[in-house]
Symmetry: C2
Subunit: 204 residues, 2 copies
């Protein structure tokens, strides 16, 4: 197990409905020092690749994306899910279904903030069915820019979104890929490791 | 003018309805290196104050809060605006009206992530009428923890939220406080500076 997989096993928990709860360090309470390790691992895999912008989607992707942008010294852009008085003018938009909130959202960015010359690193905390990442790559395509890579903390590999994106030619680097998990048996298995691990159910 | 006021004048724009648009560097496209300067300025004003946690509200506060947590080596917690499968159990919640989205939202955190011993730094990108900050301080109070300080990038002083919070005994440190702005005349004035400055209207 790598450092993220270890922490998932140690502090995460499973709930019915393919829910992995890691809100104690990743997407509600955020361990910033640990998030930097995640970002550094992603960026080390993209050694030699140049990026001009980091793109994510609100809300929980913002922490990792901001840290990645800081490391790369490039701007971070986050796609919004709801109309705002702060966004006007031309937008690039796509639609994505949120399995977490059970709603379909339009997601959009101001068109002027992605230019055709941009080489974009798309960042998110989770990748499951790939809806959010598909919407973000669609936005980059609309802008005529290039997705130079995707970086994810936790990919739920068994939900297929990551492999769907890879099959379309995108490079997707996920620090932890879960190929199997079972809430009833408190069991998790990561890609590249035939062992299964017991994961707590401490967070009721 | 300090570095943030200079950037507001140089790159911001005003719109009818007391809207200051700084989405080109602060709350849509985010200049991460510049955001670190904002965070460092806030933390320098709290020199000698110890914090155990950084609290903000999704979405645009997360970038600054994460960078502050990184500098302080403490966790960052962001309050959520909508129910999620990822948050369950006891919550601390409050309500706040968003003038940006023209909706009233319940905002909440998992109760287990703020403890009575916590000394909380509340961070947000904007402070106007103070609704979001009031809700966050209310959440901290419910948890029995202490608001050890509030740090804001841009306070719209003429909307009164900051001074309302100060009158209640909270320490609020804002890097830029706008005491007057006029979209028709493209004019802005900052607290502590009797000059008025011309602010562009380049972002249509």
């Amino acid at each position: 197990m790598n450092f993220l997989e270890e922490r998932i096993v140690k502090e995460g928990s499973l709930k019915a409905g393919n829910i992995l709860k890691v809100d104690c360090f990743l997407n509600h309470l955020v361990d910033a020092d640990f998030s930097i390790r995640i970002v550094q691992e992603i960026l080390s895999r993209y050694s030699g690749v140049s990026f001009t912008k980091v793109l994510t989607i609100e809300a929980s992707g913002i922490a990792l994306a901001c840290l990645a942008a800081m490391q790369l010294h490039v701007p971070m852009l986050f796609a919004k899910k709801s109309a705002s008085l702060n966004v006007d003018g031309d937008v690039c938009s796509s639609r994505c279904y949120s399995y977490t909130h059970k709603t379909e959202n339009a997601v959009f960015v101001s068109a002027k903030y992605i230019q055709p010359h941009d080489k974009v690193l798309v960042i998110d905390d989770f990748l499951a069915n790939g809806e959010a990442l598909r919407a973000l790559t669609d936005i980059v395509r609309q802008a005529g820019a290039q997705v130079a890579g995707c970086g994810i903390a936790i990919e739920k590999g068994f939900q297929g979104g990551g492999d769907m994106l890879r099959s379309r030619g995108y490079r997707v680097e996920s620090v932890a890929i879960i190929d199997e998990m079972d809430a009833d048996r408190h069991m998790i298995r990561f890609r590249g490791d035939n062992n299964t691990y017991s994961i707590g159910n401490r967070q009721k």
